[in-house]
């Protein structure tokens, strides 16, 4: 069986004071190879927790993750992750960062060199490959992170707000890049974001999660990602379905946020 199955995952954090948080409750998802899924939800609804479980950094209290027919037990090169920031290795040059995965597999320069240089070309950092990480801008650093993840050729790419720290313009360029890479490589991608627009553009499937306990609220299937590949994303936003969908999701999340606020006010 290929693809990624998230099979009835529940996650409960025990707190030091004796209480506990139900971060996820009975979350099930089935992703086919090549699926592009964006995940939205109010803060604290368990998006990061879900991604960490899929990556293998956390073991769920219930349920299991199955990738290509075998159960996920821990982190592995088959599931690459792009973090929001701070995950690059400052003591390595840009190129060494990108080549990290292949090198850990024991490959030598002649085996990975061509691919690494190709990826540096794809993300447009060929001229910066010998630079140190701290000499790059935030957007460049995220492109390095993306290239590093791709160099490892994972089956699934997990991204936790990868573009959250970027300015609007750089962000738009990076969104185009993600779409392009998705189409070219055919990888399964899960992308967490706080931006509804980003979720609409970068989600062939769009998952809205609800908090307390964290669960799937609603799933959409959207045409915008397919349309956006190689196209101007601002044109995509003019599609007749775009604005209504955005409003619908926005108000859905607004309602959830308001409910949270109300609840905290009651308990306070």
């Amino acid at each position: 069986m290929s693809g990624l199955q998230i099979d009835n995952i529940s996650m409960r954090f025990d707190l030091p004071n004796g209480g506990h948080v139900q971060a996820l409750q009975n979350v099930s998802l089935d992703l086919k190879e090549g699926d592009l899924m964006s995940v939205l939800g109010p803060s604290g609804c368990g998006k990061t927790t879900l991604l960490n479980i899929v990556a293998g950094f956390l073991a769920p209290t219930e349920g299991q993750i199955v990738l290509n027919g075998h159960q996920v037990k821990g982190p592995d090169a088959e599931r690459g992750m792009v973090f929001q920031q701070g995950a690059l290795f400052e003591w390595m040059s840009v190129r060494e960062n990108v080549a990290f995965g292949p090198r850990m597999k024991g490959q030598n320069e002649s085996q990975y060199g061509e691919n690494v240089d190709h990826l540096l070309d794809v993300v447009g950092l060929q001229d910066f490959k010998e630079k140190a990480i701290y000499e790059l801008s935030g957007g460049m650093q995220q492109r390095v992170a993306l290239a590093r993840c791709l160099a490892n050729d994972p089956d699934v790419i997990l991204m936790d707000e990868p573009l959250g720290a970027l300015d609007a313009l750089t962000r738009e360029k990076m969104q185009g890049l993600v779409l392009k890479l998705w189409k070219e490589t055919g990888k399964t991608i899960i992308l967490i974001t706080h931006s509804v627009e980003e979720a609409l553009l970068l989600g062939e499937r769009l998952l809205v999660m609800a908090p307390r306990p964290g669960r799937i609220h609603k799933e959409y299937r959207l045409p915008f990602a397919e349309m956006g590949v190689g196209a101007d994303l601002r044109e995509v936003k003019k599609h007749k379905d775009y604005a209504p969908t955005r409003e619908e999701i926005l108000s859905m999340i607004w309602d959830m946020e308001e409910e949270i606020m109300g609840r905290t006010e009651e308990s306070a």
Partner: protein, 425 residues
């Protein structure tokens, strides 16, 4: 008195050069700083004024020279020196019956350690009190038993009642030209030549005397060892002690950062030893290992060990968890994570620790040598101080300072070269 004067001179030079230099050079801020309208309170706009640094160092030497009568300075810059030369004063003696007679004391003051002839008593000398001569060293006082050559001795009721006509009694003092005359409780006169404001060489030698001593010691050595050997031994102990400390401390720190058992086992030891100053261990180390090389190296090993352990532990615990996650999901094994992420990530902390440890070791070795050693910078100044060889003491302190500073500069250069990303992530 002299101390206050030196302080006032220093403050005066500070203020005057500040006013003068800023008036002449103007507010020469450069580059981006020149465009800032708010500079006061903006720490980044404060760069050290290099002319201030140069003037500061020159001022130290100037004051040093002025108050030691240095030959490097023109004499008008010298603080008043001690009186040297001939002077005289009159004393009035009284015999048991109340008869009085005057006599003169001829005094000659010369540099300590030089051979001088006694001054010659001149002039008529009638009455029962006879003229006296005295030779005193500059800055030194000299007791004079003026009654010894008088016709009536102290036992027969001879008593000095006045100096230059001013009455004096036991315990009192009278000012004379070029000094003072005091009287001991028993009635002996004490001639105190004027000291001036300069420091006596046995307290503070002049810069050129220190330099001379430096040349002398570096060619002839001191206490059976050349200067290079003294400094070299100290440095050698520091380097060896530090290396052992780092060799044990860094792996120990890593183990404490990576394993709960190690952390738990060594936490009490490290936390207990950390606040114990290495100097407090000197007596114990001497009892256990004697005053030879091994004792010193053990001491420095202990001084460096805890610092390096804590630095390495902090380096490991300081690793951002996302870096660890990233490495694992890129396929790194535990050993690869250690080698490619945790170790390089801890380097900045380890370098900071190494700089601190080197400084502490350098201070500790000097202190340990002060207590007991056969060779070393600390031993050199300690022995010199017992013989009042202040010039060697000062030379030693300056060299110790220069070497300590040099070590820190080297460490900083190595840091820049090896961990260029420090403080930039």
């Amino acid at each position: 008195m002299t101390g206050i004067l030196i302080l006032l001179t220093y403050v005066a030079i500070f203020v005057v050069t500040w006013v003068v230099v800023t008036a002449v050079v103007g507010r020469a801020l450069q580059g981006f700083n020149a465009l800032k309208t708010v500079t006061f309170g903006d720490e980044s706009a404060v760069t050290p004024n290099r002319s201030a640094s140069i003037i500061s160092v020159l001022t130290l030497f100037l004051i040093w020279g002025a108050f030691t009568g240095s030959a490097l300075l023109p004499s008008f810059l010298h603080a008043p020196g001690p009186f040297k030369g001939d002077t005289q004063f009159t004393y009035t003696a009284e015999d048991g019956d109340g008869n009085r007679d005057d006599a003169i004391v001829f005094a000659r003051v010369a540099e300590v350690g030089t051979d001088v002839e006694d001054p010659v008593a001149e002039g008529a000398d009638e009455g029962f009190a006879k003229n006296d001569v005295v030779v005193a060293g500059a800055w030194r006082s000299e007791l004079i038993r003026v009654d010894r050559n008088d016709e009536i001795g102290r036992d027969a009721g001879h008593k000095v009642v006045a100096i230059n006509g001013e009455p004096i009694e036991p315990g009192g003092r009278v000012k004379i030209a070029d000094g003072e005359v005091g009287m001991t409780p028993k009635g002996t006169l004490n001639f105190i030549p004027a000291k001036g404001l300069q420091m006596e060489p046995i307290w503070l030698p002049s810069p050129e005397a220190v330099w001379q001593r430096f040349l002398n010691v570096s060619t002839e050595g001191y206490q059976n060892f050349t200067l290079l050997e003294h400094l070299g031994y100290s440095l050698f102990r520091v380097v060896l002690g530090f290396l052992f400390g780092a060799l044990v401390g860094i792996p120990l720190g890593y183990a404490m950062g990576l394993s709960g058992w190690f952390r738990g086992w060594f936490d009490p030891i490290v936390e207990f030893m950390r606040p114990v100053p290495p100097l407090a261990l000197i007596p114990l180390v001497i009892i256990w290992a004697g005053i030879g090389e091994s004792g010193k190296i053990i001491l420095l090993f202990l001084a460096a060990l805890w610092i390096m352990t804590i630095a390495a532990r902090a380096g490991v615990s300081g690793v951002n968890i996302t870096k660890v996650h990233a490495a694992y999901s890129l396929g790194a094994s535990k050993w690869q994570l250690m080698r490619h992420v945790i170790m390089p990530n801890s380097l900045p902390e380890i370098f900071t620790g190494a700089r601190v440890a080197m400084g502490v070791c350098w201070g500790t070795v000097v202190a340990a040598e002060l207590v007991a050693a056969e060779v070393g910078a600390g031993m050199m100044i300690m022995v010199a101080s017992r013989f009042q060889l202040t010039d060697i003491v000062i030379m030693g302190i300056i060299l110790i300072g220069i070497i300590g500073f040099g070590i820190d500069i080297l460490m900083r250069m190595a840091e820049k070269k090896l961990v260029p990303w420090k403080g930039r992530s």
